[in-house]
């Protein structure tokens, strides 16, 4: 019994498994959340780029029509 | 460097030193330091300091006085147009860096000449540690002068110039403070000065001075182009 008890510090984790699990999970969750927030921000930027391209495209089409009217 | 440039550099350095109005802001900075010491006396509720407390109080005060002083020095020069005259001069910009660093170094040493004895009188039991402290002061000031010149030369052209120098300079100064307090703490110990790891800390300071001196020398050119 004493030998087993002596070995215990070698194999004993700092916190019981279920409690430690929460911290580990927390750390990985923080990582995932940060990543997803970054993706969300970039998605917003992408949306803005799309909107601007749309504006520029319609402007260019408008210009083309005007030029055709003038030359016709 | 051609002889004429060397001469010019020397003249420039001397010129800078007087132009930097060391006399004008020095009494104010000395006063600031002494008042800060008084605040620490009451803040810490101590009438005598030794070891790490003494080291911390001294270096924190010197650092903040340095940061305030740096702003005053270069900002004033900018507003008087001194900067433009120098930029038009046909001189190697990196030499200008060396000149500014030396000017700032002299300023810091002059400040300490006043502040450190007063600190000793206020808080220290014996002056034994002050001799070797000079070496620590010298090396730390050199590091502060190098990074201070670099940062303030950039801050001078910005909008929030009085905020920028403390903001950026303080993290950069952390290794200096670590080494300076590390060396100073045993010097001001209660039983008398000891030299625990003194050489190592001096080497760290020297390394910092070397690295940032070189970095500043290399990039200063790019700061003055317009």
């Amino acid at each position: 019994m004493l030998e087993l008890a002596a070995l215990l510090p070698l194999g004993a984790p700092a916190l019981p498994l279920d409690e430690a699990g929460k911290y580990v999970a927390g750390a990985y969750i923080v990582f995932v959340v940060l990543l997803v927030v970054y993706v969300a921000i970039m998605a917003a930027k992408l949306g803005r780029i799309e909107r601007e391209l749309r504006e520029v495209a319609s402007f260019a089409e408008q210009r083309k029509e005007e030029r055709e009217e003038v030359s016709a | 460097m051609t002889p004429s440039r060397t001469a010019f550099a020397a003249i420039l350095a001397k010129d800078l030193r007087s132009e930097l109005r060391t006399l004008q802001s020095l009494p104010a900075m000395a006063l600031f330091s002494v008042t800060t010491f008084v605040i620490f006396r009451f803040g810490l509720d101590r009438t005598s300091l030794s070891g790490s407390l003494a080291s911390g109080v001294l270096w924190a005060t010197l650092l903040f006085a340095a940061v305030l002083g740096i702003n005053r020095l270069f900002v004033a020069e900018r507003e008087e147009g001194g900067f433009d005259a120098i930029r038009l001069a046909p001189i190697d910009r990196s030499v200008l860096f060396a000149a500014k660093v030396s000017a700032l170094l002299v300023y810091l040493l002059a400040l300490e000449l006043v502040a450190v004895p007063i600190f000793a009188v206020f808080f220290l039991d014996g002056a034994g540690g002050l001799g070797p402290l000079v070496l620590v002061l010298l090396l730390t000031d050199l590091g502060l002068a190098a990074t201070g010149t670099l940062i303030s030369s950039m801050a001078v052209n910005s909008r929030a110039r009085d905020l920028l120098v403390p903001l950026v300079l303080l993290p950069l100064a952390v290794p200096l403070m670590i080494a300076a307090t590390g060396a100073t703490e045993p010097l001001l110990a209660l039983g008398g000065p000891s030299y625990d790891r003194f050489g190592t800390w001096l080497m760290v300071l020297g390394l910092y001075d070397l690295i940032f001196g070189l970095v500043g020398y290399a990039v200063f050119d790019f700061l003055l182009e317009d």
């Binding site: 510090p9 070698l10 194999g11 004993a12 984790p13 700092a14 916190l15 498994l17 430690a20 699990g21 911290y23 580990v24 750390a27 990985y28 923080v30 990582f31 940060l34 970054y38 970039m42 930027k45 780029i49 601007e52 391209l53 504006e55 520029v56 402007f59 260019a60 210009r63 | 990074t147 670099l150 950039m154 801050a155 052209n157 910005s158 909008r159 929030a160 110039r161 905020l163 920028l164 903001l167 950026v168 993290p171 950069l172 952390v174 290794p175 670590i178 080494a179 590390g182 790891r197 800390w201 760290v204 390394l207 910092y208 690295i211 940032f212 970095v215 990039v219 790019f222 700061l223 182009e225």
Partner: protein, 240 residues
């Protein structure tokens, strides 16, 4: 063309992340004295290493910018530093969680690496207000490069100084009770490191591509004499 190669890169990143996560939870052995908490390290340490390398890389790009006067290097430098700062936030939070789990406090001053990292982070956090305070675009780019170079030189020096300030030598957290790192842990760690490195690179490329796309739209607008919309960022360099 910034978007080129982005797809294979992101696929590699996902694959590597999946692999390392599996290794962390199904393959790596349990640590001798830290137990399950040690698993945080497969996340925290690679993030830290990649962030620090990212800062130094930002400094290298800054050197390129000053030498070639090509604005694209400034954009590379900015994005590298920007992403490393974000990784830095993750490092500090995961480090804090680890500290709480190991020692019961949300912060400990005993871990020199964590403290050094905090100081480096605080320095790079000033990069944004620094850029913001300089109005002239050219000057802003140049000064930012000087900052990035100075800060890059600062990183190794800072780690050395903080480490020396520790009088106690703390047990390295990457060992089992016997003191060495077994092969399985090393493999898992290396996979995580590669995964984080790939992640950083992918995100940098991703952000540069987005900036480039924005830049192309602006270029198109100018070519067509179309009205300029909205405002552009005061600090983020443009890519075109």
């Amino acid at each position: 063309m910034y978007g080129k190669g982005l797809k294979p890169l992101s696929i590699a990143t996902v694959a590597m992340l999946a692999l390392s996560l599996s290794l962390v939870f199904f393959y790596a052995p349990l640590d001798g004295d830290q137990g399950f908490i040690q698993k945080i390290f497969y996340l925290h340490v690679p993030l830290a290493i990649v962030a620090l390398i990212g800062f130094v890389v930002g400094g290298v790009f800054a050197i390129a910018h000053l030498r070639t006067d090509n604005r694209k290097w400034d954009a590379y430098s900015y994005v590298s530093i920007h992403l490393s700062v974000i990784f830095g936030v993750a490092v500090l939070i995961t480090g804090s969680i680890w500290a709480k789990a190991s020692w019961g406090h949300w912060w400990v001053w005993d871990e020199p690496t964590l403290v050094s990292f905090l100081i480096v982070f605080l320095l790079y956090a000033t990069y944004y207000p620094f850029r913001y305070a300089i109005e002239d675009r050219d000057r802003q780019a140049r000064y930012a490069s000087v900052f990035a170079i100075t800060a890059g030189a600062f990183v190794p020096l800072n780690f050395m100084a903080v480490r020396m300030a520790q009088s106690l030598v703390h047990p390295r957290t990457f060992a089992t009770a016997e003191g060495g790192m077994p092969g399985e842990m090393m493999l898992t760690f290396l996979c995580s490191l590669v995964a984080m490195g790939l992640l950083w690179t992918t995100l940098v490329k991703f952000e540069l591509t987005a900036k480039s796309a924005s830049g192309q739209v602006k270029r198109l607008r100018r070519a067509l004499d179309a009205p300029v919309s909205g405002g552009s960022s005061r600090i983020a360099p443009e890519v075109s």
